[in-house]
């Protein structure tokens, strides 16, 4: 069970900043090092930007993660935008439909410990990522 849940509505570039700041403070509260909090904040920034760029609006939810012997953080990015037709392609370094670097999704996967993506064309995208405190 998680004890904290913070939801940030994402609809503009300013919300990206708010989401990553809240993510950093929650990470620090949960006992992550400042280095790990930076990794988590960077991942949130990328996920939130994808929401703004491709879906227009959506939500970032931040939760603590209570394992039997360890603690972590869960970040869920969800939107009801156009979805991703080919998810495995989108996870490849350098793939972008917007002429960008195409590093967001594969980069978030490297920054975090666990990565799950669920996307249906026409229905939306949900990315759930987790990081455990070492």
């Amino acid at each position: 069970m998680s004890r904290v849940e913070i939801r940030v509505t994402i609809s503009s570039d300013q919300d990206i900043v708010v989401a990553r700041q809240k993510g950093r403070s929650l990470a620090l509260e949960l006992g992550f090092s400042s280095g790990d909090a930076t990794l988590i904040a960077t991942a949130i920034s990328e996920l939130a930007r994808n929401i703004v760029s491709y879906a227009g609006s959506g939500q970032i939810a931040l939760k603590d993660l209570q394992g039997s012997t360890r603690v972590g953080i869960t970040v869920t990015a969800s939107d009801t935008g156009p979805g991703i037709p080919n998810v495995s392609q989108a996870l490849r370094d350098g793939f972008s439909t917007s002429g960008s670097l195409g590093l967001g999704l594969p980069g978030v996967r490297r920054l975090m410990d666990e990565f799950e993506i669920d996307s249906k064309p026409g229905q939306g995208t949900r990315v759930v990522v987790k990081k455990w405190r070492p």
Binding site: D13, Q14, V17, Q21, G35, T42, S45, E46, L103, L111
Partner: protein, 120 residues
């Protein structure tokens, strides 16, 4: 939130705040280019010491700034990337290829002065 730009001789110094939005970064890019033209600056230092996160958008914008300014015949150097931020950039796969970096403001200025000498 606007990024203050300071003119010091032939060099412009832009100091980032912690939480810059994409719009702030875009604004900084046009403001810097305008001022390089206006003051005929030969060098630009972008100080990112206070920056909390360097994500794909921020690093792409920094690269663009450096490339545009090079087309004007001036040099850009990014200073103060914090070790934690650098680590996150590497994990994400970001590089600042083709962009000069230095430890801090002092070293950035030293780098530019060296460049100016060889440019003469």
């Amino acid at each position: 939130m606007e990024v203050p730009i300071l003119k010091q001789g032939a060099v412009l110094i832009a100091t980032f705040q912690a939480a810059l939005s994409d719009a702030d970064l875009n604004h900084l890019r046009s403001a810097l280019v305008q001022q390089v033209v206006r003051f005929r600056s030969r060098g630009v230092i972008v100080d990112v010491t206070a920056m909390d996160v360097m994500d794909s958008f921020a690093s792409r914008t920094l690269r663009e700034i450096a490339h545009i300014i090079r087309l004007r015949g001036a040099e850009t150097v990014i200073v103060g990337i914090q070790p934690e931020v650098a680590f996150a950039m590497v994990q994400l796969g970001l590089t600042l290829e083709g962009v000069a970096t230095a430890l801090d403001l002092e070293e950035g200025l030293a780098y530019l002065n060296q460049k100016f000498k060889t440019m003469k």
